[in-house]
Symmetry: C2
Subunit: 347 residues, 2 copies
């Protein structure tokens, strides 16, 4: 592999001149510039990124870490879309992405610190966001440049998040408008910010509508279809009535659909079902699922923009930016009641 010296020799200049040409320095004669360029082509020269990183103390690499838990939390397609968004802007700005998937929060934290201390990356994007997040605390303490996808409960940090409260609020309002009054809420683990926020939007909408919040209608479970199904079964068994389900994840909505089938309840007439994430594969359920569409790709892209901006203009870290992306309710048949708006039911 050719080095800068080889090029210098061929172009009959010094290595530093070659270096300048690479860097695009201006005070260099057109003639030698040409000669160096030709020499580079001749030996098929490509700068060694490692050597450059060492000399400049910057790697042009950012780390993206994820703990398995978070991966499940946001259902799968979400994850790969975020990655695509990140990758796309990284590519454009000539950065690389170092990926690390951990089993739990503790492992993720160590991985993050290690990547930074070993100087493998210039900054990090983390997608965790718990209510009490030790990872974020650690990153702040070590003054590491990072952006979180999600949001931090206490400390102000650079973050990109979707407006969960607002989305959940609107979703609930939609259900109310369709005439549902006894809306059950299936929550993921409450330690996750996303769960807290979505629950809040739900409560807020009920409050505004003057409908009391029944704790019995709120269930918490792990992210899974089964969890959603069981939660509803439990409610039913304990005699809690509900005519709609706000599922804070599409997986729960799947469970709700199964519940409806199991108990022969008509969706949407007897049970309205609304999910979160608008997983592409799930717009084809029977009936098609109403769901909150999240801008996953944009989430990743914005996070990367934010991080790179901060890395290249360190003073930007001063004005902590928290970006919030809108989401949109995709209304489909699982909540489109015929009985409510107009009394004609055609079955």
């Amino acid at each position: 592999m050719a080095t800068i010296k080889d090029v210098a020799k061929i172009a009959r200049v010094s290595p530093s001149t070659v270096s300048r040409v690479i860097a695009g320095s201006d005070r260099i004669s057109q003639k030698t510039k040409e000669r160096v360029r030709k020499a580079m082509e001749e030996v098929n020269y490509v700068p060694n990124a490692i050597a450059r990183s060492l000399a400049r103390s910057r790697t042009r690499t950012v780390g993206f870490t994820l703990s398995r838990r978070a991966d499940q939390a946001f259902s799968n397609p979400f994850f790969s879309e975020v990655l695509r968004g990140m990758s796309s802007v990284a590519q454009m700005r000539d950065y690389n992405i170092l990926l690390s998937i951990s089993l739990n929060e503790e492992e993720e934290k160590e991985k993050c610190l290690r990547l930074i201390r070993e100087r493998r990356v210039d900054g990090l994007i983390v997608s965790t966001s718990r209510v009490k997040d030790s990872l974020i605390d650690a990153l702040l303490r070590e003054e590491i440049p990072f952006v979180v996808i999600g949001r931090s409960a206490d400390s102000p940090v650079m973050s990109v998040n979707n407006d969960n409260v607002q989305a959940s609020f609107q979703a609930t309002k939609h259900l109310l408008k369709e005439g549902y009054r006894e809306i059950a809420f299936i929550s993921g683990p409450r330690e996750l910010m996303v769960s807290v926020d979505r629950l809040q939007g739900y409560k807020q909408a009920l409050f505004e509508a003057g409908i009391p919040v029944e704790e019995g209608r709120i269930a918490e479970t792990d992210f899974s279809e089964e969890g959603g199904f069981q939660a509803l079964c439990a409610m039913r068994e304990s005699g809690v009535a509900f005519d709609a389900v706000l599922a804070s994840d599409d997986l729960f909505a799947l469970g709700a659909l199964r519940f409806a089938t199991h108990y022969r309840m008509d969706v949407p007439e007897e049970l309205g079902i609304l999910g979160f994430n608008d997983t592409p594969m799930m717009s084809h359920t029977h009936p098609p699922l109403t769901s909150v569409r999240i801008l996953s790709y944009e989430l990743g892209a914005e996070a990367m923009e934010l991080l790179l901006g901060g890395l290249e203009n360190p003073e930007k870290w001063k004005n902590q930016k928290e970006i919030v992306l809108p989401s949109r309710l995709e209304i489909r048949e699982s909540t489109r009641r015929k009985g409510a708006e107009n009394e004609k039911s055609h079955n």
Copy 2:
């Protein structure tokens, strides 16, 4: 940040001694070893991976590239599972993963070559595998260490693949056993090896059963639910009869389910439907979908093992290894016919 020199000074030894302690060299006295260790802790020393990479000409980083097309091809959860598998063994063997998602094959090829030429990675895992694959050709030409997830049509390369021919063969046999005789096949783009292989298994099973292959029952389309739906509609319109669908991707199976609903065909009685990938979210369709389960996690893990093995024992590249992982047919209601095996139909 502390360097090896700082540690050396504190432990009153030379930098090379510190380096030896890090490397775990044996011929070094227990006493100085201790002293060095203490010094390292004292200043919280962590070796600079970049400097080490430069000195050793090895980065302990492998690149994983993917073009958007391939990402779609294998439906999404597949992708993140593969990544998890790769990440898990990388972590264990202290390697890092550099991720790059491209828009198309050409871009992916350039990205691969660049990563290698810039010396950012020691080797690559690529998940493309077309019938005529220019990426693989390029990697071979440049003598780059790499492993393919999938397989190469012509050149022998290190690869990890699932046994698509066999899986498709078994799936078809299952349909035949259930009494289906007019089995339609929905294929993805034929330029992909996976499509070719699955089609072959299908044909082979029909052949063994003495059933002629009707080209009219074979459709090719892009990976999407809509594609699957339209393919069947087209068949129906052109008067081709079929009593089962072998969908070479779960997305197609979704389309087939919609087709059945649309034309009020009972599944599995009037139409058997069998998918590929066993996407977790889709075991909850109505009726539950029979599908070929792919070991995605293992695919990623094995690919990484293979690559790292090759990187650390270069002579291993001699005996080109092609690993083939088995898959398993998950039989559910969408193909479990009651009418076929015993004539009692209970509806």
